[in-house]
C-alpha cells in the first residue's frame, strides 16, 4: 500500500529490517543513517530500489533540505518511519550528561525535527502515514534508565499529540512500542520476551498498515504493560524493574 517511504535510522536493527522488508520493485525506499557504508550494504541486499543518505539526526539544521530533496527524488512521500535510537548502558548511581544528552538528542529531538517536517508535508497533502518507534520503556520511568525512559515517554506523548493534530486531515500516526529486540543496542543483555529485529520489523509494518493507533510488538507486551502502568508508584520504586 505504500510506495514512497522514508526510514530514518536504517543502517541496523529494526530500521535495517524495515528497509529490507519494505523493499519491493513497486516501491522506493529512502534509507537514512549516519553510516553510509552500512546503508549501502543494506541497499545491496534489498529486493527493490533503495536510495541511501548519510545523515546524523542530531545535525538538525541539515534536516529540512535533506527531507525536501528526498521528497522531490521520491516524487512525494506516503510513509515516514523514525526508528533512530540510542541506549548507552547507564550504571546504577551513574549520572552522565554526555550519555543522557545523546539519548534525548537522537531519540527525541531528532524525532521531532524529522516528524515535524513529515507531518507538515502530510497535513498539507491530506494523506500519509507516520510511524514512530517508541518503546515499552516509555510507559514508566525506570530506575535503570532514567533518561532513556524519559526520551521514549516524550516521544510517545509527542506522537499522541501529532495523532490528535493530524488524523483529522487524513494523516495516520502510528506509535509502535517494541519490547526488547536483539540488536546491537541490547547486545549481551538477557531480557524477557526478546525477539529478533526481523520479527520486530514485521510487527511494525503490520501496525503501519493498520493505520492510526498505538501498538506493542510483540503483542504480549500489551497486557504486561497494562498491568505495569497501573502499579502504584510507592510499590514500583521498590522493585528492580
Amino acid at each position: 500500500m505504500f510506495s514512497k517511504c522514508i526510514v530514518i535510522g536504517a543502517s541496523s536493527g529494526i530500521g535495517e529490517q524495515l528497509v529490507l522488508q519494505l523493499a519491493h520493485p513497486s516501491r522506493t525506499v529512502a534509507a537514512i543513517a549516519r553510516r553510509k557504508e552500512r546503508l549501502d550494504q543494506v541497499a545491496d541486499q534489498a529486493r527493490g530500489p533503495v536510495l541511501t543518505y548519510a545523515h546524523d539526526v542530531t545535525d538538525y539544521d541539515a534536516a529540512p533540505e535533506l527531507f525536501e530533496g528526498i521528497v522531490e527524488e521520491l516524487g512525494g512521500v506516503d510513509l515516514v518511519i523514525y526508528c533512530a535510537g540510542v541506549m548507552p548502558s547507564v550504571d546504577e548511581g551513574e549520572y552522565n550528561w554526555a550519555k543522557d544528552r545523546a539519548m534525548l538528542e537522537v531519540n527525541l529531538l531528532g524525532a521531532v525535527r524529522w516528524l515535524d517536517l513529515a507531518a507538515g508535508q502530510m497535513e498539507a497533502q491530506r494523506s500519509g502515514t507516520i510511524v514512530g518507534i517508541s518503546s515499552v520503556a516509555g510507559d514508566r520511568g525506570r530506575r535503570g534508565a532514567p533518561v532513556y525512559t524519559a526520551s521514549k515517554a516524550g516521544f510517545t506523548a509527542y506522537l499522541e499529540a501529532l495523532r490528535n493534530r493530524c488524523t483529522r486531515y487524513g494523516v495516520d500516526i502510528v506509535t509502535v512500542k517494541p519490547g526488547p529486540v536483539r540488536t546491537s543496542m541490547t547486545e549481551g543483555m538477557k531480557l524477557p520476551f526478546m525477539i529478533d529485529a526481523d520479527q520486530a520489523a514485521a510487527g511494525v509494518l503490520k501496525l503501519a498498515e493498520g493505520g492510526t493507533g498505538t501498538g506493542y510488538v510483540p503483542k504480549i507486551w500489551s497486557p504486561i504493560m497494562g498491568i505495569i502502568q497501573h502499579v502504584p508508584s510507592f510499590i514500583f520504586r521498590k522493585t528492580n524493574v
Binding site: D61, P64, E65, D116, L117, G120, Q121, E123, A124, R126, R168, Y169, G170
Partner: protein, 474 residues
C-alpha cells in the same frame, strides 16, 4: 543557512478550507524587518506572498513551498482624527479593530465585508465590497493614500495624485505589486450605532430583481436566495434585507449605541447558541434534503414575520459570519468553495437562474446564495461592474471535487459570455484563459507592465497568481 530551511513552517488554508499549502513564514513587526525578509527571500530565490487574516476563500493567501509574510503583527493605528474621520493604520489592523477605534467618535468604515476579521491590507489587496457597492463603491473608493514597499526595496507613496497608475493597480491587485505598509482612509459619519433594517420575503428571482430596482433609496441592500427549494419553482425565492442609517430624529438611543458594548453580537442565531451553530449547520449540511428543510424554515420565518423596520447594530447587521465562530468547519473535511460571478445588469437574472438550474440538475446545489448590486469603478483589475453578483457556497467532498470544478468552470464560461467578471478573493476554480476573459487582455497587459516596474524579478507569487497565470505570456 537558507531562509527556506531556517524558518518555521506552517500549513495554511483558505477560508473555505478546500485549498491548503505548506509554507515557511515570517511575522514582521515593522517595515524595516519586513524589508529585510523581502531582501533575503529575493536573494535566495524564495517567492513571497503577503497574508493577513486568511479570509480569502480560495488560494489567494497561499504560497505552497514558498514564503508567507504574515502581516498581522503590524496592526497599529498610526493616527486618528475624530473630527474629519480620517484614519491611518498599519495593514494588519482588522476591520474589527478599526471600528472599535472610531465608532465612539461617530465614524464607521464606509465599506465592510460580511466578517470583521479581514485586515486592511487584505481589504486593499482585494478591493473588497460590502452590501452597499451600488451606492458607495468598494473599499478602494475610500482609500486616500497608501504606502507601498516593493520587492526591490522602493518605498512609494500612492494616491490618486501620486503614482496614480500604481494606486489603481494595487487596489484589487491581490498583493502582486508589493506590500502595503500604511493605509490612510476616509470613514463615514454615522449619527448612531444602529441601522433601520427591513426584511421581507419574495417568492421568485424575478420578484427579487424588481425589488432591486429600488435599492438606490437604501443605504444597504442584500438578498439571501434559496438555491434549492422543494420543486424547481421554489428555487430563487429570497429573503430581502434593506437598511438605512438611522437619522438623529429616528433613533433616540443613537448616541448611546455608538458605544462598543451596544455593538456586541447576539449570543445566539435563530435560537441556537453561537458556539453550537457550526455543529448544527454541520448536521444540516450533511445532506441536500436537510438544507432544503433549513432553507424552507428560513424562508417561512421571513414570509410570516413582520416587514416593519427594526433597529439593528452596525456590527449585528454586517458581520453575520462573526456570529458563527467556526462556521467554516461546518462543511466537513473537504471544506467548501465560494463561487461568485458578477454579471452585467441586463443579463443577471437570466444567468443567475441558469446557474441555479444547472446546480440542481447536476446534483451540485449551492447551500447558500447571496445577491448584491454593484456600480462600475476605475481600478485596474476591478471586479465591479454595473450589475449584480451571486455568491454561492458549494460543499466540496472527495467524490464531488472534479465534477464540481468542471461544472463551475462551465458556469464561468456562461458568465463570461454575458460579459461577467470574477473576484479573486472568492475564487478557486478559474483557468488562465477565463481570467483573461474576465478582466480583459488590455488590463492584464497593463497590470503586467506595473509588475515589471515594481517586481522585475517576480519575487511575489501566490498559489492564485500561479493558477491564473499572472506572469505567463498569453
Amino acid at each position: 543557512m537558507l531562509l527556506r530551511h531556517e524558518l518555521p513552517r506552517r500549513v495554511y488554508d483558505g477560508f473555505g478550507r478546500a485549498a491548503v499549502g505548506l509554507s515557511v513564514f515570517v511575522r514582521p513587526h515593522g517595515v524595516d524587518e519586513l524589508q529585510l525578509s523581502l531582501e533575503r527571500a529575493a536573494n535566495e530565490g524564495l517567492k513571497v506572498a503577503f497574508r493577513g487574516n486568511g479570509r480569502s476563500y480560495g488560494d489567494a493567501a497561499l504560497n505552497t513551498g514558498q514564503l508567507i509574510v504574515d502581516m498581522t503583527a503590524m496592526d497599529k493605528v498610526l493616527s486618528w482624527d475624530g473630527e474629519t474621520g480620517v484614519i491611518e493604520a498599519e495593514p494588519g489592523l482588522t476591520i474589527n479593530q478599526l471600528w472599535q477605534h472610531t465608532l465612539a467618535d461617530g465614524w464607521w468604515p464606509p465599506v465592510v465585508p460580511g466578517t470583521s476579521w479581514p485586515t486592511l491590507g487584505g481589504c486593499v489587496a482585494m478591493n473588497i465590497h460590502g452590501k452597499n457597492h451600488y451606492k458607495l463603491g468598494g473599499f478602494g473608493d475610500h482609500v486616500l493614500e497608501l504606502d507601498l514597499l516593493t520587492p526591490t526595496g522602493q518605498r512609494l507613496l500612492l494616491s490618486r495624485e501620486s503614482n496614480a497608475e500604481l494606486f489603481r493597480g494595487v487596489l484589487g491587485g491581490f498583493g502582486m505589486l508589493g506590500c502595503v505598509t500604511r493605509v490612510k482612509m476616509q470613514l463615514k459619519r454615522v449619527h448612531g450605532g444602529r441601522l433601520l433594517v427591513r426584511q421581507w420575503a419574495l417568492p421568485t428571482l424575478s420578484h427579487q430583481f424588481d425589488a432591486w430596482e429600488h435599492c438606490q433609496g437604501e443605504d444597504y441592500f442584500v438578498s439571501w436566495t434559496d438555491c434549492l427549494g422543494f420543486g424547481s419553482s421554489q428555487a430563487g425565492r429570497s429573503q430581502m434585507h434593506s437598511a438605512r442609517y438611522a437619522q438623529p430624529d429616528q433613533d433616540q438611543e443613537g448616541a448611546v449605541t455608538l458605544h462598543r458594548d451596544a455593538q456586541r453580537l447576539p449570543g445566539s442565531l435563530m435560537g441556537v447558541p453561537a458556539p453550537l451553530v457550526p455543529l448544527v449547520l454541520k448536521v444540516f449540511y450533511s445532506h441536500d434534503l436537510m438544507v432544503r428543510f433549513m432553507n424552507q424554515a428560513k424562508y417561512a420565518a421571513s414570509f410570516y414575520s413582520s416587514t416593519a423596520p427594526f433597529f439593528q447594530s452596525h456590527a449585528g447587521f454586517h458581520f453575520l459570519l462573526d456570529q458563527m465562530p467556526g462556521f467554516r468547519e461546518a462543511y466537513g473535511a473537504g471544506g467548501f468553495i465560494q463561487f461568485q460571478p458578477f454579471v452585467p445588469r441586463e443579463h443577471a437574472q437570466q444567468v443567475f437562474a441558469e446557474i441555479i438550474r444547472v446546480g440542481l440538475r447536476r446534483d451540485l446545489p449551492s447551500y447558500l446564495g447571496v445577491i448584491k448590486r454593484y456600480r462600475p469603478d476605475d481600478f485596474l483589475l476591478s471586479h465591479a461592474l454595473d450589475g449584480y453578483s451571486l455568491a454561492l457556497d458549494f460543499k466540496v467532498t472527495a467524490s464531488n471535487r472534479s465534477a464540481l470544478w468542471q461544472t463551475c468552470q462551465e458556469l464561468a464560461d456562461l458568465v463570461l459570455d454575458a460579459g461577467g467578471k470574477f473576484y479573486p478573493a472568492k475564487d478557486l476554480i478559474l483557468r488562465p484563459d477565463q481570467f483573461r476573459r474576465a478582466f480583459g487582455q488590455e488590463r492584464i497587459t497593463a497590470f503586467r507592465e506595473l509588475r515589471k516596474q515594481v517586481d522585475p524579478d517576480r519575487v511575489l507569487r501566490t498559489d492564485l497568481s500561479v493558477r491564473l497565470g499572472i506572469d505567463e505570456p498569453g
